[in-house]
Amino acid sequence: MIESIFKFFTTEPYWTLTRSILYLVGICIFVAANAAYLVWVERKGAGRFQRRPGPTESGPWGLLQPPADGIKLLAKQLMAPPGSDKILFWAAPLMVIAPPLVCLAAIPFGNNVLARDLNIGLLMVFSFGSINVMALMLGGWASRNKYAIISAARVVSQNVAYEIPMLLVVITIIMVTGTMNLQEIIVQQAGGFWNWNILRGIWDFSGGGWGHIGGNLLAPVTFLIFYICMLAETNRAPFDMAEAESELVAGAFTEYGGMGFGVFFMAEYANIVVGCALATILFLGGWQSGLGSGFGTLLTSWGVIGTVIGVGFFFAKMYFLIFSVVWIRWTFPRTQFYGLLNLSWKILIPISLFTLLLTSVLLKLPRLF
């Protein structure tokens, strides 16, 4: 009986469905664990940057701090401020946590480790990623708090401003790689780390020289722009206008308590994970080892072990990026609001437009001759 059910779900055509569900559950766990332990990383990291140990009391190295925080948040009463729009108020945390979950479904962590191999994965990630701003706006608006409303207004204009350079940069990548399939983008970056999109195009070792065919001469700058926009989109310091605690108390989250706040908190880290994973895929070769086309490719294509090694490389890159996000947060002050918009409209958008133009010219050039 059990065997037959098992067989029913593990053979085609239902295996695809089972697989997807399993992945989604796995992703949920992954996001929750990440959110919890990224908080730990953040606090521990903040501590180290400030020459103090960070959490130490609960568990070894404070490793039980996140569950303790979670339990505390769960145990708190959920309250909506009187006069607020209750439906929107509680819809906002759900809306903010759902998109990163969906996005992660399309992200390939390893050679075969992905829920759905979408050929428009990139598009899907971006379309879902934009819902985040909607949720923050709703949360801020529905709280019936002036600080939260100011924050909501800030978040909207901030995210609108940073979507543009981010998408321009991504278009550059799409032009270079010619695909929106994330797995395909990774596969194209096989070989040495110089084949990664962050360096590809500056110099081609296979004989292309400067401005290699299909390359992007300003690829590192492109990466930088993507990274900055990623910080801004996830409302991280120095662009944490949504929270801006010294100005707006807690911004859009001012009125949220208990798990309502906890979900926002988790979503922030889930968004960081998505953003950093995307940066890894688009620029740092995803699960590719970057150790050359011989040994390196062999390393990641060696059956199940190769997949695991590939996932390891992916996580190493992704967590380094996440660490850098923490690093930046504990180093810089917050930007001023118009400074933030100036950066986007006056610096990032022109540069990304220029790289887009340059890349398209470089793409066209070989065909002219």
Partner: protein
């Protein structure tokens, strides 16, 4: 052009900042992990006041002259004394310090002409207010003297009697003065 140079130099300044913080990241921590580790207390640390006593006779220096109580800006000292039989001067019998009012200004210590009070170095006084706020310094003095292995001076004892036999009828044993 200005924008370009500013962007570039600004970017460099950010890198400088990141370099500084990462250097701190890999430096050892500077904090003291308080309940597990403690720092040495400064010699002149101003804790609440306590009574000093004569090392030889074990008798408190305080003569209940009330100068400290008068010097106190916050009226937190109330003391009383008697003239023991066969003695020339008075001796303190009760010295109540309302620590909730004390501002640790050290004026009483300076005002004392007999070098009878000093600051203790007790600092971790957290407890329920009733237990520590109203201190009986005479009781504390007795505890301290007992701890160094001497018998506290008893002003109520009859004059010639050498060693006071039992615990004297000291004023209200206020629940204070743990070490």
């Amino acid at each position: 052009m200005n924008l370009v140079t500013e962007t570039f130099s600004g970017f460099l300044s950010l890198i400088t900042g990141l370099r500084i913080t990462i250097k701190q990241f890999f430096s050892p921590t500077i904090t003291t992990h308080y309940p597990h580790q403690t720092l040495p207390i400064a010699k002149k640390f101003r804790g609440h006041i306590e009574l000093k006593w004569n090392e030889e006779t074990g008798k408190p220096n305080c003569t209940a002259c009330n100068i400290c109580a008068k010097a106190c800006p916050s009226d937190c000292i109330v003391l009383d004394g008697i003239k023991p039989a066969g003695e020339k001067g008075k001796t303190v019998t009760s010295y109540k310090l309302d620590y909730t009012l004390c501002s640790l200004c050290s004026l009483c210590v300076e005002a004392c002409p007999f070098d009878a009070i000093q600051h203790s170095n007790r600092y971790n006084l957290a407890s329920v207010p009733n237990q520590w706020a109203n201190m009986d310094l005479v009781q504390r003095y007795k505890d301290q003297v007992t701890r160094v292995g001497k018998t506290p001076y008893d002003p109520y004892a009859p004059a010639p009697a050498a060693a006071p036999a039992a615990e004297p009828a000291a004023p209200a044993p206020a629940p204070t003065a743990q070490p």
